[in-house]
Amino acid sequence: MDGPANTVSYFVAGYGVIFGILGIYLASLVSRWRNLSRDEKTLADLEENQ
């Protein structure tokens, strides 16, 4: 046996996918929250002006 197979690139790709998906999901949560907060403020202003 020459030791373990050289699979470092697959290891890096695996963890890249894990943190990539996690990052995209977190960014989508933040972005949706910001958009909804802006909508809520605009609608509240409209309601006040009516």
């Binding site: 290891f11 894990i18 929250w33 609608l43 009516q50």
Partner: protein
């Protein structure tokens, strides 16, 4: 994200610390498997992501049952949040599994029972998101979501037990011993510690994300309510 409750701020902090610790343990503490090499370390977060996906679909099914009994829209918010997060983790599980399979099985994909049932499970929940988006009336949408989440959950135990029911090359982590499995390994105590810590970390991460996603649902409902109020 808005003014968070103190407990959620604490949970966010604990989650970040645990995730960082789990990553460092995987990278520097878990020993290198003597045949597969570094790619074996994908296993820790791969299994943890699969675990969270299944827990999440269970939460959605339970929320569906409670919604049908209590007719409270809050349970629908929990249900849809759980399925959305479950899908993200299930995708993580499938893609990392494919990356691991390339050097170990010499293929990115094979229609093995575990891979096939996991794919069907993910497609069932993707369909949930699409079908749900097509229903305008909130009560009807919530009722549909509840029934779908309960029936869709049948795919979860089928996926979990597929490697025990059918002949498969997918390794069985707990109570292994199937000689036809390719890529199985015996866990050393250090590997078991990292594995258990990763499972706990991902469970904490899941409940942290669920809380945030439910808050987002509450905000979305508030905006929807304001829109309807202005239209009438």
């Amino acid at each position: 994200m808005g003014s968070r409750p103190k407990l959620l701020i604490v949970l966010d902090g604990v989650t970040v610390v645990m995730l960082l610790t789990a990553t460092l343990l995987v990278f520097f503490y878990a020993p290198m498997e003597r045949v597969m090499g570094a790619v074996q370390k994908v296993f820790y977060f791969h299994v943890a992501a699969g675990w969270v996906g299944m827990i999440s679909f269970l939460v959605a099914a339970a929320a569906g049952v409670i919604h049908l009994i209590k007719k409270n829209i809050a349970w629908d918010r929990i249900g849809v949040a759980a399925i959305e997060i479950g899908l993200a983790f299930a995708m993580m599980n499938i893609i990392t599994g494919s990356i691991w399979a390339r050097p170990i099985w010499n293929t990115w994909w094979t229609w093995d029972p575990r891979l096939t049932t996991a794919t069907i499970m993910v497609l069932i929940y993707f369909a949930y998101m699409m079908l749900r988006a097509g229903i305008e009336e909130p009560e009807r949408r919530a009722r549909f979501g509840a029934v779908y989440a309960i029936i869709g959950f049948l795919s979860v135990p089928l996926t979990f037990f597929s490697i025990r029911i059918w002949n498969t090359i997918h390794p069985v982590v707990i109570a292994s011993g199937d000689p036809s499995a390719t890529g199985a390994f015996d866990m050393t105590p250090a590997m078991a510690q990292v594995f258990l810590f990763s499972l706990v970390t991902f469970t904490v991460l899941y409940f942290d994300l669920l809380w945030h996603r439910v808050r987002l649902g509450i905000l979305a409902d508030r905006v929807e309510h304001l829109k309807l109020k202005l239209q009438s």
